[in-house]
Symmetry: C2
Subunit: 157 residues, 2 copies
């Protein structure tokens, strides 16, 4: 079975289940001068990729939304962490994904990502989403690390 | 009143209240080559600064914890986002802080930060924390942006 760097074959079933079981992640990007940025994102997992809508309500934060896209254009590298906070720290867990991000320019891929996002987030069902008005970002994981408090670690490297 | 760039005079009372009312933030850092990293952090606000313990349980994620400190040593710039996820997107809000991060080397400052963290997080009360074993990171906000769905934005620039 292929374990190419661009496929989610590198993700375990547990990591995939962790992604699907959560509702929000936090994406870090950086511009070419290495100034970091971070934003919450609602994502969908589709095949070997994660997707989020980069702009417009309800995630638009004025300059923040634009900054995300500018960073991705300058520097495709990103890091996404998916986690829950719990006051019982023995229950803490997170999945950290190192990834490459890029804007979708195929109408067919855009439509598939929209469908996956609408399946997960009802609010998107009533929102008009088009490639030209609502940029879609594709995230391709390169490395990942799943951590659970007190448990053995699992990672692809 | 001074609005110097190193003081939290730049934070509004609402932004400070937002920080204090939340339990976890997500910190993005980047190494000198602009590779981003992101991790959840439990923080305390003390005067004009935020602090978190950079290493050891329960947040240690193996290479992740070390990566955070290595990034900060290479590149002090960071971004911290504090937010709640809610399935009702009209209730979404976040505070994004652009900051400089550095490791505390003063015993007195370390002790004040530990006390503030133990006040917020009972789990820290039973955990031995010393400057040499548990590095403490100081975050000094430079710019910030508070966003609430549907509400006017508030920021210091």
């Amino acid at each position: 079975m292929s374990r190419g760097k661009t496929t989610l074959m590198d993700l375990s079933n547990e990591a995939r289940a962790f992604i699907r079981a959560h509702r929000v992640g936090h994406l870090a990007t950086a511009d070419a001068r290495a100034t970091p940025h971070v934003i919450p994102v609602c994502y969908a997992l589709l095949g070997d990729r994660l997707y989020f809508v980069a702009d417009d309500k309800p995630k638009r934060g004025g300059p923040s939304a634009l900054k995300r896209l500018a960073n991705i254009a300058e520097n495709p590298r990103g890091a996404l962490v998916i986690d829950d906070y719990d006051e019982d720290w023995t229950r803490l867990a997170y999945l950290l994904l190192h990834l490459d991000a890029s804007v979708v320019d195929s109408e067919a891929e855009y439509a598939r990502a929209v469908a996956a996002l609408r399946d997960r987030y009802p609010r998107y069902r009533s929102m008009p989403l088009t490639l030209s008005t609502h940029p879609m970002v594709r995230m391709i994981p390169r490395r990942w690390h799943l951590w659970r408090a007190g448990n053995p670690q699992e990672a692809n490297k």
